[in-house]
Amino acid sequence: MSSYEARFKVWRGDVKGGGLEDFKVEVNDGEVVLDIIHRLQATQAPDLAVRWNCKAGKCGSCSAEINGRPRLMCMTRMSVFGREETITVTPLRAFPVVRDLVTDVGFNYTKAREVPSFVPPEGVGPGEYRMMQEDVDRSQEFRKCIECFLCQDTCHVVRDHEENKPAFAGPRFLMRVAELDMHPLDAAAETGLDRKSTAQDEHGLGYCNITKCCTEVCPEGIKITDNALIPLKERAVDRKYDPLVWLGSKIGRRSS
């Protein structure tokens, strides 16, 4: 068991302003960045604001940027840094700051509400749902999402362009559209809701230029770009740019 003193820079402040504050703090074997932030709270800065919950990488609360990279503090082990390194921790930089490491993630909750929910199939009662494993695999991958919003934070579409926020749902909620569109029993189409074209028309799929940062930061290892966004783009193409598929759907042969 060996411990050492690490140097930290932690952003402190609120919407009126703030800056990086220097700390020296003890680090023990096997600890993660969140442990260090907690030690700062307990010993040096009792009012240091930080959001956290499960401390096991399951709830997605403790998102922050560590040395400039969006990460979960509870899943970033101190051993990945050199002992001489100064570790910088800042709040997520795509969202308005509340205080210290806490940001206002309301954007995400707004976007969540804009995606129409699962539409249960008509005439299939509770207990009568039959779905094959291979048909739910794809959506299940997306439902592993813990809503840490790191993908929303890193996505340059909104991170670097505040003005795009109204038009763009972000990777997490485009993935939600994909999840529902791939759900074997979602009956949105029967009610006249075409998730494929609304992905582009209402949720801003066209803004995505598939530079894959969402996939890179996902702590759950979900292949957001390859398995959700690109397939969704291809589905939008079916509806909007593919005369063959479009014609087929008009004739009504393609019911798969």
Binding site: D14, N28, D29, G30, E31, V32, D35, Q41, A42, T43, P46, D47, L48, A49, V50, R51, W52, N53, C54, K55, A56, G57, K58, C59, G60, S61, M75, R77, V98, R99, D100, V102, D104, V105, Y109, A112, R113, P116, S117, F118, P120, P126, G127, Y129, R130, M131, M132, Q133, V136, S139, Q140, R143, K144, C145, I146, E147, L180, H183, D186, G221
Partner: protein, 658 residues
């Protein structure tokens, strides 16, 4: 006159985990305008940590399963201390609650014929747990969250406002349940009139006025040092109910999950799901021995395999073999691990070995236990497909809780107060079976929401009024940490000017005390010592002070949570001292056997000073008074589900012949 913001709602749900959200959905669907208050962000509740599954006798995998068998397993697991009516309702309604989730978009793992797959778990006779890999809790919370959003979308369509009928106040904490008083309501006084809360982000106070309040705040694990619980689990709901005058039931029963991580220290306590054992994982000591075969108690002798060969056969042929003892109820396994470590046969970091690497191919492990693989890889540098995990007991769940009416989830003694989920007591008796928690949340969350909505509707035209003096008192109480300086009330003069206590330090001392003195194995002397220490902490906690201001100040939040943790810890310690037997989650070294006489006895904790003041600093008297209560006899048709030979092990003579 207070100037806090006030809003009117029909039903206020405190807590947004599985039970809270299910209650909110039910209340809103039954027409009540419903507000949900939660300490974290919406969708982050502790329910996401549940891994194994939802127990429901759907009989998708084994056709012999039905609610009676589920009921029987639940009663056995709880050592017959369960409120039998709750266990009955739970077993009967769980399948409907699971199926309903599918209509809201949940995607469980499937059987070959497309139904919901079910897995084995400790204490369940048949494969019964609907699951999604090992992240079932996440699926549950997300489904309920998305159902709430879908109701809000409906409301938006009809009223133009997402939040007109169902609103989530996230990152807010309730510190008091308010009741109406004689000056306003005369003889009807004492009914719930609303809640007092603060917004964590801004620090502002507000009052939600409502005739019905559903408490669904989860558990108390943060009073213990080694715990699988998140920071939210500070026993808020237990304390709110106590302070409002509702009694807590059987608080001595705290479940220590047998398998938590033991290394590295910073993750000590994080849960290792029981599915590891359900899917074939085995426990070994440092000598490589599968020691669980030595720990099968008499009451379970006929139900469990006596040899490794038979246990191994069971995974493929459960009808003709008995299950391995690794799948005994959690209390048994936790005690066994504790005993092995004590006898010097533990692993290097003070646990035992849990091994799947020699039992399943790496690919299967990664598919069936993805988050366990991930968790050990990321946090401990251990590849569970190649080496054994080190595990040890961790505080996981409290079986005790608010005493409620079985059918309505109404808290006893306070009209308008309801409770569901972990915060409610009774359902699980002295020990909860894995998988019964998620189903409990759904079954009783729904019932709480339903009866809260009905109760509120009946009072629509005579809503209990909020008493201003209570609001002022609550505000003053919440602000005290900012002015905590000088001596505690009644302390001698020379102590003036002492610096305020650090809430983090107090919390650590409390956790250490509960862990060491009221932990998995209990002794009379240690618990008396714990009560002394709790009294000391209580005095010091009154001087817990904080720096900074009210905006998102974790130090302040913790200072306020301390009140709740201290109250609840005292309940646990006092009840544990009183119950002179060992049963389920309560193990007394000085009273090692289960006593049939104790089976009918419930211990109720109530506030000694019912005015709600917290002046009591005397460790002997404390804040909590215990009363014993004899339970109703189990209904004969339910008793008939068991063999006579089994019942004699649990029930006293006279109960058998009543």
């Amino acid at each position: 006159m207070s100037v806090v913001d006030r809003q009117e709602w029909d039903v206020v749900v405190v807590g947004a985990g599985g039970a809270g959200l299910r209650a909110a959905i039910e209340a809103r669907e039954r027409g009540a305008r419903t507000a949900v208050i939660c300490k974290s962000l919406f969708g982050k509740a502790h329910t996401v940590m549940a891994e194994g599954g939802i127990a429901a006798a759907m009989a998708n995998v084994n056709e012999h399963d039905n609610w009676q068998v589920h009921f029987r397993d639940t009663m056995r697991g709880g050592k017959f201390l369960n409120q039998w009516r709750m266990a009955e309702l739970h077993a009967q309604e769980a399948p409907d609650r699971v199926w309903e989730l599918e209509t809201w978009g949940a995607l469980f793992d499937r059987t070959k014929d497309g139904r919901i797959s079910q897995r084995n778990f400790g204490g369940h006779e048949y494969p019964r747990l609907a699951h999604v890999g090992d992240r079932t809790g996440l699926e549950l919370i997300r489904t309920l969250q998305q159902k709430i959003v879908s109701l809000q979308q409906q409301d938006k369509k009809e009223t133009g406002d997402y939040e007109s009928r169902l609103k989530v106040f996230q990152e807010c904490t309730v510190t008091r349940v308010l009741k109406d008083t004689a000056s306003n309501s005369g003889s009807a006084a004492g009914r719930v009139s609303g809640v007092f809360a603060y917004d964590r982000e801004t620090g502002r106070f507000f009052v939600l006025e409502a005739p019905s309040v559903v408490i669904a705040t989860g558990g108390i694990g943060k009073s213990f040092k080694v715990t699988s619980n998140s920071w939210e689990y500070t026993g808020d709901g237990h304390a709110l109910a106590l302070l409002a005058g509702a009694p807590l039931l059987n608080m001595e029963f705290v479940q220590f999950h047998p398998t938590g991580m033991v290394w590295p220290p910073s993750v000590k306590g994080i849960l290792v799901t029981e599915s590891v054992r359900g899917d074939g994982g085995v426990l070994r000591n440092s000598e490589g021995k599968r020691f669980m075969f030595d720990y099968i108690p008499d009451v379970f002798k006929e139900k469990y395999a006596q040899s490794e060969e038979e246990g191994d056969r069971w995974y493929d042929d459960p009808d003709n073999n008995r299950r391995p003892p690794e799948l005994l109820p959690r209390d048994e396994v936790a005690r066994a691990i504790n005993a092995e470590v004590k006898a010097g046969r533990g692993s290097p970091h003070g646990g035992v070995f849990l091994d799947v690497s020699t039992r399943m191919p790496a690919e299967v492990i990664k598919r069936r236990l993805p988050s366990m693989y991930h968790q050990f890889k990321e946090l401990a540098d251990v590849d569970i497909t190649a080496e054994a995990m080190e595990v040890g007991p961790t505080c996981h769940y409290v079986m005790g809780g608010i005493a409620v009416e079985s059918d309505t989830a109404a808290a006893r003694g306070v009209p308008g107060l309801f409770a569901a989920g972990e915060v409610a007591g009774g359902m699980h008796g002295s020990n909860r079976l894995g998988g019964n928690s998620l189903s409990d949340l759904l079954v009783f969350g729904r019932r709480a929401g339903w009866h809260a909505a009905e109760y509120a509707a009946a009072l629509a035209f005579e809503r209990p009024e909020v008493d201003d003096t209570q609001v002022d008192a609550a505000a003053a109480e919440a602000l005290r940490p900012f002015s905590a300086e000088g001596p505690a009330p009644g302390e001698p003069e020379e102590d003036t000017g002492r610096p305020p206590e650090n809430p983090y330090t107090l919390h650590q001392e409390l956790q250490q005390t509960m862990n060491d003195l009221v932990g998995i194995i209990r002794r009379e002397g240690e618990m008396a010592q714990a009560l002394e220490k709790l009294a000391e902490l209580r005095v010091r906690a009154r001087r817990a002070g904080v720096e900074g201001h009210r905006q998102f100040n974790p130090g302040w939040h913790l200072a306020l949570d301390l009140r709740n943790m201290l109250l609840v810890s005292e309940c646990v310690a006092r009840a544990a001292l009183e119950r002179t037997e060992s049963r389920g989650g309560h193990t007394r070294e000085d009273h090692p056997t289960m006593e049939r006489e104790w089976r009918r006895l419930n211990l109720l904790c109530a506030l000694t000073d019912p005015t709600g003041g917290l002046a009591a600093t005397d460790p002997v008297r404390g804040q909590i008074t215990l009363t014993r209560e004899t339970t109703d006899p189990i209904r004969p048709d339910l008793l008939a589900l068991f063999e006579k030979e089994e019942l004699v092990k649990y029930l006293a003579e006279e109960e058998l012949y009543e």
